[in-house]
């Protein structure tokens, strides 16, 4: 086995390459990978020094040898990697020393932080991995990652395109998070699930400060753990690291006791450090490990250990929801994100995501919704579909450890879906039914649960990742089934020791005062052992019941969360300002930016007025009044936007009313807005969008960093008459100019308006824009002129 050399053994890696190069007189910065072509002898001599010091694995000089970084050098990825691995191989010839393909971050941030798509990152890593294996690397090491998503792209690229064992190490700050906020537990459990062979920490800190994080890492994985710290911290004046070789080696010894078995050094270390490390490790053997085999789900920033009751929010689902269906059909992902955020604010722990609806291509939609949600929601997701391709597409782009809803006892379903669950390290919900339908007895359902568990285990999915749904049936139709379900939950939880899921709301279908029945069933189910209720977290009765249950079960230590919930102390959502009696008008509510009141008053108004009157006679005049006050400097941007958002809640009421009637939505005209190519900061554009939408315009928001061609194509395809462009930097004004130039070449060019921090009326004219908008308010005036 190629991976035998590091299993249950102590292994010594190498130290820094950059530090040693600088000691040998090379200036910092630049592209050290070019040395593979220009000075192979120097590199070979460094490898030999590390090998002589005791390194059993040497990292080839390929850290930044990716297509993005090399693109500027005129050299190809394969060319550099072949040369680099060749040099290391020569140094290692005739020894047991392994040569690693070293894979560092790409040097650009991935979406949603930057504009590099996950798929493009995968391609760039794939190119490196394939070249590395071909050139004769023994393993791949992905290192210095701070973004779990980028680490995932790299790991998938190596695993799917090579047979190399793969190590992944990430860089953490002292507080136990990476720059992107990723926690140690999220990293460990995600990467183990994705099939890394060893994981660990490198760079950023010295061994003393990394030690507690390494201990935490060891508790969160069964894999061998790697420590490759810096030689302490650098001095800002001279750049020197503050820890010497002996101190470095000694500071790593507590990590050995915590369970680390693979050791090396990063910035500031040299062969001397490795020599001391080897001496310190002589005669030592791996320490016993204590893995915490808990159910777990996560995003990078939210590690969720499954203990007690965890609420799964059910609202991202089109079933029975006209407005949601409309959003899916219209590709309105903002609406879906809004539904998700509301559940997060209401206290959900996990969000179920279901986008299956006639006319929607789930394979395309599910990954897009996953990406959209993880751009702003910090909760882990449960992907809910019966379509294996959609599940795979969704899991692939998911950042963290997700759950899959669902499989059932049917052999064909298990065979189709479990390998996908295993590949992406997800958890899986097994429905206690099979070809024969839902067993009418608890025993029947438990038998299916056992079958699902066995199938999962034989697929390599650990027991803690298997969740069983004993199925809620409607009590008004099959009354005796409520107790059978509870009995099955009890057995699955107590005897099989698995997490239990139930879609709770279904119980009360067809009965009056549904919340009462649902709440009662929820309470009884939790008492029976339900750990993962799927409910509507916006429904107060349900979340109250969960809060109370957590007190009685002892999970809510000292009743803190309960007290906070009911004294309003740390209430997650700010309650709308109480409105003074009933004399507030809709116009007042909009002007004062009172969302909840505006929505409520709009509903009332719709009883007597038409949708159109509401818009024309209340909404627009109120917004205009705010706009004028803003222009005069009597109101400020936050107030303008509050009013716009109150208007938004009125529009939501109108939209829902029209969707109920099955009519077409009220829209006053469509326009495109986009932040031009090269510009990645887009809050200005989003402000304009908020205000325009709340005047009733349909805004096609193409996002940020948008190529001129995309804007032109969309304008043509959607027959758009008005295009708004935003630029923040002088360096992106040329992209704005180019976009306008291309738009003006169309046979029927749309009207253009421009704005943004650096844009002036003079620039606007020079670029050939039709209008200059100094702020969001002026954009509305322009839209009025052009579209009405």
């Amino acid at each position: 086995m190629r991976s035998d050399f590091f299993k249950d053994k102590i292994v010594i890696l190498d130290g820094a390459m950059g530090t040693v190069l600088q000691q040998k007189g090379l200036p910092p910065g630049g592209q050290p990978e070019l040395l593979n072509l220009t000075d192979p002898a120097l590199l070979e001599s460094i490898y030999r020094e590390y090998m002589a010091a005791g390194s059993q694995v040497i990292y080839a000089n390929t850290f930044g040898a990716n297509g993005l970084k090399l693109g500027r050098t005129g050299h190809g990825v394969e060319e550099i990697i072949t040369a680099a691995i060749g040099i290391a191989r020569r140094a290692a010839a005739g020894t047991e020393v392994r040569v690693a393909l070293d894979v560092g971050p790409l040097g650009e941030l991935l979406e949603p932080m930057g504009s590099l798509p996950f798929e493009r990152a995968y391609e760039l890593f794939r190119e490196m991995a394939v070249a590395g294996e071909k050139a004769g690397a023994d393993l791949a090491v992905i290192e210095t990652m701070t973004d779990l998503y980028e680490a995932k792209a790299a790991l998938l690229a190596v695993k799917e395109n090579t047979d190399l064992p793969v190590f992944v190490t990430m860089s953490f700050e002292e507080r136990g998070r990476t720059f992107t906020g990723c926690t140690v537990a999220s990293m460990a459990r995600t990467l183990e699930g994705l099939g890394a062979d060893a994981i660990g920490l490198n760079c950023s800190l010295g061994p003393d400060l990394l030690a507690p994080l390494l201990k935490e890492l060891c508790e969160n994985t069964r894999l061998p753990v790697i420590a490759k710290p810096n030689a302490g911290l650098p001095d800002p004046v001279d750049g020197h690291y503050d820890m010497g070789p002996e101190a470095f080696a000694q500071a790593l010894m507590p990590c050995l006791d915590a369970g680390v078995t693979i050791f090396g050094g990063c910035c500031g270390t040299s062969p001397d450090y490795i020599r001391c490390l080897k001496a310190a490790l002589a005669g030592k053997s791996p320490a016993p490990r204590r893995y915490d085999a808990a159910g777990f789900l996560c995003t990078p920033v939210t590690p969720l250990r499954l203990e007690g009751v965890r609420v799964i929010g059910e609202r991202v689902n089109p079933t029975g929801k006209k407005r949601f269906q409309q959003a899916l059909l219209e590709n309105d992902l903002d609406y879906i994100l809004d539904v998700a955020i509301q559940q997060e604010d209401a206290g959900a722990d996990i969000l179920d995501v279901n986008v299956g609806y006639p006319g929607v291509d789930e394979v395309d939609m599910l990954p897009r919704v996953v990406k959209k949600l993880q751009s702003a929601v910090s909760l882990p997701l449960q992907l809910d579909s019966t379509n294996p391709d959609a599940l795979e597409a969704g899991l692939r782009v998911y950042n963290g450890k997700a759950a899959v809803n669902s499989v059932n006892g049917e052999a064909a379903v298990l065979e189709r879906i479990l390998p996908i669950v295993k590949k992406y390290g997800a958890s899986v919900v097994g429905l206690a039914l099979d070809k024969g339908g839902i067993p009418q007895t608890a025993e029947g359902r438990v038998a299916i649960a056992r079958r699902i568990l066995d199938a999962a285990l034989s697929c390599g999915i650990p027991k803690e990742d298997v969740w069983i749904d004993c199925l809620t049936l409607t009590v008004s139709a099959q009354q005796e089934q409520a107790m059978e379900t509870l009995k099955a939950v009890r057995t699955v939880r107590r005897e099989l020791g698995l997490q239990t899921v139930l879609g709770v709301s279904n119980i009360s279908f067809g009965l009056p005062n549904r919340p009462l029945i649902t709440q009662n069933f929820l309470i009884q189910a939790m008492a029976a052992g339900l750990t993962l209720p799927i409910i509507n977290p916006n429904q107060r009765e349900m979340m109250d019941a969960v809060a109370a249950f957590r007190v009685l079960s002892g999970e809510d230590v000292q009743c803190q969360a309960y007290v906070a919930r009911f004294t309003g102390e740390a209430a997650p959502v700010k309650a709308a300002a109480p409105s003074a009696a009933g004399d507030m008008t809709l116009d007042d509510a909009i002007i004062k930016g009172l969302k909840a009141d505006a929505g409520r008053l709009a509903k009332q108004a719709l009883e007597t007025e038409s949708e159109l009157t509401l818009v024309e006679q209340h909404l627009i005049p109120a917004l205009d009044q705010v706009g004028e006050a803003y222009e005069k400097g009597k109101m400020f941007l936050p107030q303008l936007l509050s009013a716009a958002q109150a208007a938004q809640s009125v529009f939501e009421v109108i939209r829902a009313a029209i969707a109920e009637k099955g009519g077409a939505p009220v829209k006053k005209g469509r326009l495109i807005i986009a932040t031009v190519q090269g510009d990645i900061h887009d809050i200005g554009k989003n402000i304009v969008k908020t205000v325009l939408e709340n005047y009733g315009y349909e805004v096609l928001d193409l996002g940020r960093d948008v190529a001129p061609e995309t804007i032109v194509e969309t304008a043509v395809k959607e027959n758009i008459r008005l295009v708004g462009l935003s630029a923040l930097m002088t360096t992106t004004l040329p992209a704005m100019e180019e976009t306008i130039r291309q738009l003006r070449e169309l046979p029927e060019p749309p009207v253009t308006f421009v704005g943004g921090a650096v844009v002036t009326p003079e620039y606007a004219e020079k670029m050939g824009a039709d209008y200059y908008a100094k702020d969001a308010r002026q954009s509305v005036e322009i839209a009025r002129k052009v579209l009405e």
Partner: protein, 228 residues
């Protein structure tokens, strides 16, 4: 010293945040209160991180060159700011991508609060620069610091960003990247140059009120200032 690590206790300046919102003195009390609460919460959630390094300055062909990373600080701004300096500090400060994530989520929840958060973030990263400057000052008690100035200010070119980024190893130390269009990502990131001199330095940018020479300044007596 915690180079590149998060520090505690840096708070955004509320007045500055209000100025970013276009509401300097005229801000209604409710807005000021909201900004103030938001600023406190933000400072509790995340703190600026910074890194800096000191370089010798050499004058070559009429421009200043930072020795080591080989960066040329061309233009009149650098010339005037660094005229009496033998060394300069490159400083980078950031709130990190976690601020961008907070801002993205806030934009979904409530755009009005998002623009306030954005302003608080800008003020917080400025406070971070001030704190970093204080640390530098404390480290060099015998030297005088010029005001700090950044690429894009005066005629100091933005095109310096990539080389400053490389010289300070910003991706690794701070998680800050410079894009092809010279934007820094994450958004709330600042790079700056501070001159180190053996002689007292005028507060050319911050203004006469901050200047150690305000009592004796002949320009000021003549009703003028040395501002660039």
């Amino acid at each position: 010293m915690r180079n590149g690590q998060e520090v505690n206790g840096v708070k955004p300046d509320i007045d500055e945040a209000l100025r970013y919102l276009g509401a300097g003195n005229g801000a209604p009390e409710t807005l000021r209160r909201e900004i103030s609460a938001m600023a406190d919460r933000l400072a509790g959630q995340l703190q600026p991180r910074w890194t800096y390094q000191v370089f010798d300055l050499r004058r070559e062909d009429g421009a200043f060159r930072l020795c080591g990373p080989d960066i040329v600080l061309a233009g009149r701004t650098a010339e005037r700011m660094l005229a009496q300096c033998g060394q300069a500090v490159l400083l980078a400060c950031t709130l990190g991508v976690r601020f961008d994530a907070l801002l993205r989520a806030e934009q979904v929840r409530d755009m009005a609060r998002a623009v306030m958060l954005d302003a608080c973030g800008s003020a917080l990263v400025e406070s971070g620069c001030n704190a970093a400057e204080g640390e530098i000052r404390a480290r060099f008690p015998d030297r005088y610091l010029t005001d700090r100035f950044s690429p894009g200010y005066g005629d100091l070119p933005l095109t310096l960003q990539p080389s400053i980024c490389a010289a300070l190893d910003m991706p690794r130390r701070l998680g800050v990247h410079v894009t092809g269009s010279l934007l820094m990502n994450p958004a709330k990131s600042v790079t700056a140059v501070i001159g180190l001199s053996d002689r007292p330095q005028r507060a050319r940018i911050r203004g006469c009120a901050y200047c150690s020479m305000r009592e004796t300044c002949t320009l000021r007596k003549g009703g003028k200032s040395c501002a660039l």
